[in-house]
């Protein structure tokens, strides 16, 4: 927001590193001694183009967060493949993945008094050289500091640098977490419910920030959201999950439709056009009717 960004300093990898390909992905949580395990995700195949914002929507428990965790390499797929920029995720080390994918988790609780600057600098962890013997003091390179500074300027938390994270409001804290993910300098940004728990003002701010970052940094963004209007207004395409299966993927006009939403969520909603963008807008109907 303060300084325009030289694009050379933030595009770490070629375009090939920025797309995601998912093929026949299935996942279930292992429960020992539990024979009748159900698939959390089953047979998902889709891809995310470089520089695209893909929204993931679906009812509670449909597998949105699990899908994000799989894309972030936090859990291995039970079946199928995920390729990050052509590389199978199973062949990448945790550190390699961290250099390609950054994750903004749903909630972030810090019990210790870390400052905002310290927190954002932790995003540089995957880029620290690993040495056999090092106390790690004074090892932040100029590049680390510049990246963190840029990320904090972009998310407008620079003025909070020496404040404690625990003293911030929800909106400020969310921006700090996004700044930490940006400092990671990865080409793919995954966000889990980025607007949950935020008031309308902060929701607008975070959504605007995500669109702006996508343009400025050519990021590939995957965001899971309960808010169908966020998915509709800010995403290029929306992936609808129902009970772990891909029920529809396509442009907001193609997915945020009364018939699709009834099929996925099992309820009737009012969908009209947003007065400014013309994209679908979802509101609750008067009186509750269930099909």
């Amino acid at each position: 927001m303060t300084t325009p960004l030289p694009s050379t300093s933030v595009a770490p990898s070629g375009a090939g590193h920025r797309g995601i390909h998912v093929e026949g992905l299935s996942f279930r949580y292992d429960a020992a001694g539990h024979q009748a395990r159900v698939w959390t995700l089953e047979g998902l195949s889709f891809h995310v183009e470089a520089g695209e914002i893909l929204g993931i929507a679906g009812p509670n428990g449909s597998g949105k967060s699990s899908l994000l965790k799989l894309l972030a390499g936090l859990m291995p797929p039970s079946e199928g493949h995920i390729r990050l920029g052509g590389q199978p995720i199973t062949q990448l080390s945790q550190l390699d993945i961290a250099r390609v994918v950054a994750l903004v988790p749903q909630d972030y609780v810090q019990v210790f008094p870390f400052t905002v600057a310290e927190t954002v600098l932790m995003g540089r962890f995957p880029h620290r050289p690993s040495r056999l013997w090092s106390l790690g003091v004074g090892e932040e390179t100029e590049k680390d500091l510049a990246c963190a500074h840029q990320a904090m300027s972009d998310t407008d938390v620079w003025a909070l640098a020496d404040r404690l994270v625990s003293d911030l409001s929800g909106g400020e804290r969310q921006r700090v977490v996004i700044a930490r993910a940006l400092a990671q300098e990865s080409a793919i940004l995954l966000l889990d419910e980025p607007t949950a728990f935020l008031d309308i003002n902060h929701q607008i701010e975070i959504c605007g920030l995500i669109s702006r970052l996508r343009c400025e940094r050519q990021l590939t963004v995957v965001l899971a959201s309960h808010d169908l209007n966020v998915a509709s207004q800010y995403c290029d395409r929306v992936l609808m999950l129902k009970e772990g299966r891909l029920s529809r993927i396509g442009s907001p006009d193609d997915t945020i439709r009364p018939d699709v939403l009834r099929m996925v969520y099992g309820c009737d909603v009012v969908v009209d056009a947003h007065p400014q963008t013309g994209r679908p807008r979802v509101t609750m109907p008067m009186g509750i009717s269930r099909a």
Binding site: D30, K69, A72, Q94, F112, E118, R128, G136, L145, H149
Partner: protein
């Protein structure tokens, strides 16, 4: 670009991030203070030895490089063979407890965690209690065997905790805490059983040891313990950046490139071994491992690169001073140092809780 460079410089000076200068100033200051505390505490004991005498006694040690006990008076012998090893042991114990406390608080993401939370300490204590019950207390190859029993007990309970908490190759934090609490309860019951069937005068000795007591170890035993303590803390110091990232939560830590399962096992194993070694030489000295990291965190911030070594030095000083009080306050009778640390640490903790609630964590 110039304004951005200016902002960066300002950032370094505002205390928002840790700089090498600040690290050196704080750690250097604490190291000097530690040395001063250790030397000053040499004066106190059942009999007071003046600083002048200490200087006289230390001089041949420094110039000749060799200590000639025969040529010196009784006070020098007391100093070199009783007080100095005890002060060194106290410093190592306090420093290890505080370091382990820092590491476990970060790993468990719980500012109330202390070195005894995982139950390894009870295992070590049970080992020592058993040895005392069966009257095994002689030395083996110059080393007292009691610490050995303690260490083996701690090691066995560590293996047990791993077995209890592990599921499918993973080590969930919740299971780890639960297993620790349960194991603590069971092992403590065994220790209580042992004290109840012992002869009263021997069980009193065991109780005093369980509350935490320092004794003057021989230099050979001290050297073995020092290798464990210094080595363990040095390895922990290599993990400080990982500890920082672990406070963000396990999933975030993994998304930042940390193989959390491997790191958790390393840290649990390392802290357990260090705790086992400490308990085996000094019993269960409470509060150092919980209160010192808290206090130091409030003063220097949460960055573990500074917090861990600073806590180690402050923990060492705290225990040396506490032990000096323990052996002088009712001289010639000594009270267990665990009582002093609890009486000093408990109220301090209450103060934090009541008056500095908002800054506590």
């Amino acid at each position: 670009m110039e304004s951005s460079a200016g902002q960066l410089a300002q950032w370094k000076h505002s205390g928002a991030i840790l700089t090498l200068q600040r690290w050196l100033a704080i750690i250097g200051g604490l190291a000097v203070a530690s040395l001063a505390v250790c030397v000053l505490c040499l004066q106190f004991g059942a009999t007071r030895i003046e600083m002048g005498t200490i200087a006289l006694a230390l001089r041949p040690l420094l110039t000749a490089g060799e200590f000639d006990a025969a040529g010196l008076g009784a006070s020098a012998i007391i100093m070199v063979h009783i007080r100095l090893p005890r002060i060194l042991a106290g410093f190592l114990v306090g420093g290890s407890l505080a370091s382990v406390g820092v590491a476990l608080q970060a790993l468990l993401r719980n500012p109330l965690a202390d070195p005894y939370v995982l139950g390894v300490s009870s295992g070590a204590a049970l080992g020592v209690s058993l040895a005392m019950l069966f009257g095994i207390g002689t030395t083996l190859a110059l080393l007292p065997t009691l610490p050995l029993f303690g260490f083996v007990g701690g090691l066995l309970s560590l293996i047990l905790i791993y077995r209890l908490a592990q599921s499918q190759g993973r080590l969930p934090i919740q299971s780890l805490l639960l297993a620790g609490v349960i194991l603590n309860a069971i092992l403590t019951a065994f220790i209580m059983f042992i004290t109840s069937i012992m002869e009263p005068n021997r069980s009193a000795g065991l109780m005093a040891w369980l509350m935490g007591s320092l004794t003057a170890p021989g230099y050979a035993a001290l050297a073995v313990f020092a290798i464990y303590a210094v080595g363990g803390v040095a390895i922990l110091m290599q993990k400080t950046q990982t500890l920082n990232v672990l406070t963000l939560g396990e999933e975030t830590a993994r998304s930042l490139g940390i193989e959390t399962e491997r790191v958790k096992k390393q840290l649990v194993g390392l802290t357990a071994l260090l705790t086992g070694a400490v308990v085996s030489v000094s019993g269960m000295i409470g509060f150092v491992g919980m209160v010192v990291p808290h206090a130091v965190r409030m003063l220097v911030g949460s960055d573990h690169r500074l917090l861990l070594p600073a806590s180690a030095l402050v923990g060492g000083m705290f225990l040396v001073v506490s032990d000096t009080i323990a052996r002088t306050i009712l001289a010639p009778t000594e009270i267990p140092v665990g009582i002093v640390t609890a009486l000093a640490g408990g109220p301090f903790f209450l103060y934090l809780l009541l008056w500095r609630k908002n800054r506590m964590m």
